[in-house]
Amino acid sequence: MDFDAYDLDPAIYDEAFLPDGAPRGHYRALHAAMREATPERFAAIKERINRSFAHESISFTLQEGDEAQERIIPVDCVPRILAATEWRELEAGLSQRLAALNRFLSDIYSGGRIVADGVIPADMVRGCPHYRLAMRGVEVPRGVYAAICGSDIVRTKHGYQVLEDNLRTPSGVAYMVANRKAVKAGLRRLYRRCRVREVEHYGRLLLETLTELAPHGRPDPTIVVLTPGVYNAAFYEHMFLANEIGAALVEGRDLLVNDGAVYMRSTAGLRRVDVIYRRVDDDFLDPLEFRPDSLLGVPGLMHAYKLGNVAIANAPGSGVADDKSVYAYVPDMIRYYLGEEPLLANVETYLCRRPRDLEYTLDNLANLVVKRVGESGGYGMLIGPGATPAERAEYANAVRANPADFVSQPVLALSRSPCFIDGKPAPRHVDLRPFVLQGGQTRMVPGAFCRVALREGSLVVNSSQGGGGKDVWVLADAPGEEP
C-alpha cells in the first residue's frame, strides 16, 4: 500500500507523520509494515477483526424507539501508537488531575475551602445538578471519591488537552481490551516487533483498587458491579468487568439493606456486600435519598454508605467534578490543592453564565462548539461550523434563555491518525480515553480507548453517532532510552 493519496493537512496534527510526510519515529515500523502489505491483506485483517467482534457480540446497546439493538463498534485495524515519552506525559498529567479532582470533591463536601477562598463560585458548586447534599460530611474510604476516571484527551498542534473528565460512570475500557485482543491477533509480527505494553491486566488493577476501598480495610471483600441492566448502552462492559474481577453483576433489585448493611440475594441466602462498583447514575442509587420514583435503586443504600458499612465507587456526588462548567476551573484546582502547575492543558472554555462569555459565544456561534452542561455522549451540543443558520438561531435562543446551562469551546482541529478506509490508508480524527484508577495508590494501564470519527472530515467520535474504535499501542522505552 502506498501513502501517495494520504492527505496531510498542515493545519492538523497528524499522529503518524511529520509535516514533511516522513513517518514519526514511533510510527516507522507500522508505516513500513503497511507499505509492504497489500490492501487485500489489510482488508482481510479488518474483516477478521470485525467478524470476531460480531461472533463474540462485543457490542453496545442502542435504543431505537422501543427496541434495544445490539450494535458492534466498528474497529479500525491500524493501531494508534504512542511513544513512551508521550505516554509518560499523559500519565503524569492525568494522575495529577485526578488527585486534584478528588481533593476538590473531598473539600466541597466538607468545608468548602475552595469556595470560601473565592477560587470557584459557590453557586456553581451548590447549584450543580450533580451536587449531592446527602454527601455533606460523609467520610469516604481513603478520601477517594472518584476511584475510576476516564478523561477524554485530544491533541491539536498545541499538544495534548483534556476535553472533559468523566467521573460518574466512564465507559470504554472493555473495548480497549477487546480492541487489543483483536488487533494483536491481526498484526502479530508487527506487534511483537514494536514492543507494545500490555493492557490486559486492567481487571487486576481495578480489583486491587476496589479492594483497597473496602470498609474497615476488610480483606477479601465481596465486590459487586451494579448495572442498570441489559438495556444499558454499556451492558457488555459491565458484564466484562464483573467477569474480570470475579464479581457478581447485580441490579438494584438484587440488593437490599438490612440493619445498616447491604446484602445481595444469593442462592445460599443473603450475602453481605462490601464494595459496589456502580455503573448507574446517582439518581438511581437510592430512592429514599435521591429519586423516589426510581425503580432501579436500593432503598436505604445511602444510609448503609454513611455508616461506612459499604463502599461505593465512584462516590455519589462525584459528578460535580466533571460538570462542564466546573471543568473550566480544574487548572485552578490543581494550583490550589497541589501547588503545582497543570501538566495537561484544558481546552479554552467560555462559560455562558458570565455575561462577557455569553456575548462572545452568541457572536461567534459559527466557530464554536456549544455544549449543555448536563449532557454527555455528544448529545445536546451544537457544532457551529456544521450547523445551518436556522439551527444556530434556534440554539442561540436556548442559550439566551438559560445561559448557565451552556459552555462553549473553540472547534478543535483534533489530530488525525491513519486508518484503513476503502482499501487504502486515510487520516481520520481521533480522541483518546485513558483510564486512571485511584485507591490507596494511583494505577493506570498503559493504553486507552481511542475513538475515531470514521466519516471523512467528521469530528464526532461518539460510538452512538457513527464513531469507531482503534487499538492504542503504548510503546515500551527503547533500550538505553531515559526511563
Partner: protein
C-alpha cells in the same frame, strides 16, 4: 452465586433443551414429508401440537386430505413452530430466550460457550422458513440440533463446575423430563386405537432409541415396550428416569437453599419422581387396566415435575428474605 444469575443459567438450560427437542421432532417431521403416508404426517403434527398444548395456526387439528394440502399445511405449521416470534414455543423463540439469558449471564459461563451459542444464533437469526424450505429443511434442523449439542459439548469441556454449571444442568434435566412426559402423553392421546408401528417407531427415533429398542426387544414394535424404554431405561440418555435422576443429583449437589420449606419439599419430591419412573412404572403391569395406569402415572409425573420447577424457584431464586440466612 447471585440468585438472579443462577436463575438465568437455569433458563439457559431449559430454553436450549426445549429448542433441541423441537429440532429433533421437526427434523423427523420434515423427513416424513418426503416419503411417509399422509396419515402418519398428520399424526406427527398432532403429536407435536398436543405436546406443546398449542393449537395449530387457524385453530384446526384436522388437516385437509391429499398430498398438496399436507405439504402446504406443513409449510405453515413448520413456520409456526420454527420462526414464529409470537409463538413462545417456536424454535426461534426458545433460542432467542436461551441466548438472551446467556447474554445476561455471560460472565458466569465460558467465553467459548458464549461464542458457540452466538454463532448459532447469528445463523438462525438470518434465516426464514422460505429459505430453509427452498433448500433442505432436514439439514437446517439437523444443523441446529448439532449446534445446540456442540454448545453442550463446549460447556462440558470448558465450564467451571460451580453452582452456575449445576443450575444450568438442573434446568436442562427438568425441561427434558417435562418435554418427555408431555410428548408421551400426547402420543397416547393422539395414537390410533389400533396400534400403529410407524407412530411408535417415529417416537423412538425422536429419542435416538430405535437401535437400542431393537437390541432389547427385537424387530416388533410394541407400544408398552417403547414406553418402558423411554421411561425407565437406565442407559438411554434422554429417558425419563435418567433425566429425573440427574435433576435429583444436581439438586443434592447444590444443597439446601434459603427457601427452607420449599427446599425440603424439593428434595422429597425429586426422590419421589425417581421412584415413580424407576419402580412404580414397572408395577403398572400388575394392575388390570395397565394402559389407564400409564396415563395416570404420566399425569402424575408431569404434575410433580412442574412442581419441582416451582420448588426450585422458591428454594433458590424467589425465596422470602425474612427467613433467609445472612452470610
Amino acid at each position: 452465586m447471585l440468585a438472579r444469575s443462577a436463575e438465568g443459567l437455569y433458563w439457559v438450560g431449559r430454553h436450549l433443551e426445549r429448542a433441541e427437542h423441537l429440532c429433533r421432532l421437526l427434523w423427523l417431521q420434515v423427513e416424513a414429508l418426503v416419503d411417509r403416508p399422509v396419515e402418519e404426517i398428520h399424526f406427527g403434527w398432532r403429536r407435536i401440537y398436543r405436546s406443546l398444548r398449542r393449537a395449530p395456526p387457524g385453530g384446526r387439528e384436522e388437516f385437509g386430505g391429499g398430498d398438496d394440502y399436507t405439504l402446504a399445511d406443513s409449510y405453515t405449521l413448520a413456520d409456526d413452530l420454527t420462526f414464529e416470534p409470537t409463538n413462545p414455543d417456536s424454535l426461534w423463540s426458545c433460542f432467542a430466550s436461551g441466548r438472551e439469558n446467556a447474554r445476561q449471564t455471560r460472565h458466569c459461563i465460558s467465553g467459548e460457550m458464549w461464542t458457540s451459542l452466538n454463532l448459532a444464533w447469528l445463523r438462525i437469526g438470518a434465516l426464514d422458513i422460505k429459505q430453509i424450505w427452498g433448500a433442505s429443511p432436514e439439514t437446517f434442523y439437523a444443523e441446529t440440533a448439532r449446534e445446540i449439542d456442540a454448545f453442550c459439548g463446549v460447556a462440558e469441556a470448558t465450564m467451571y463446575r460451580d453452582e452456575g454449571w449445576r443450575f444450568m444442568r438442573l434446568g436442562r434435566c427438568i425441561e427434558r423430563a417435562l418435554l418427555t412426559v408431555a410428548l408421551l402423553r400426547a402420543q397416547l392421546d393422539a395414537a390410533a386405537e389400533e396400534e400403529d408401528e410407524a407412530e411408535w417407531t417415529s417416537l423412538l427415533r425422536a429419542y435416538h432409541a430405535l437401535e437400542a429398542y431393537h437390541r432389547q426387544h427385537g424387530l416388533a414394535i410394541a407400544s408398552g415396550a417403547v414406553l418402558d424404554l423411554l421411561v425407565t431405561d437406565a442407559l438411554l440418555p434422554r429417558s425419563l428416569r435418567r433425566s429425573l435422576k440427574a435433576a435429583a443429583a444436581e439438586l443434592a449437589a447444590i444443597g439446601p437453599g434459603p427457601g427452607i420449606r420449599a427446599s425440603a419439599e424439593a428434595t422429597r419430591l425429586a426422590e419421589k419422581l425417581c421412584a415413580l419412573a424407576e419402580y412404580e412404572w414397572h408395577q403398572r403391569e400388575r394392575v388390570a387396566a395397565a394402559q389407564a395406569r400409564e396415563a395416570t402415572l404420566l399425569r402424575e409425573l408431569e404434575g410433580h415435575s412442574r412442581r419441582l420447577h416451582e420448588l426450585t424457584t422458591l428454594t433458590y431464586f424467589e425465596y422470602g428474605i425474612e427467613d433467609a440466612p445472612l452470610h
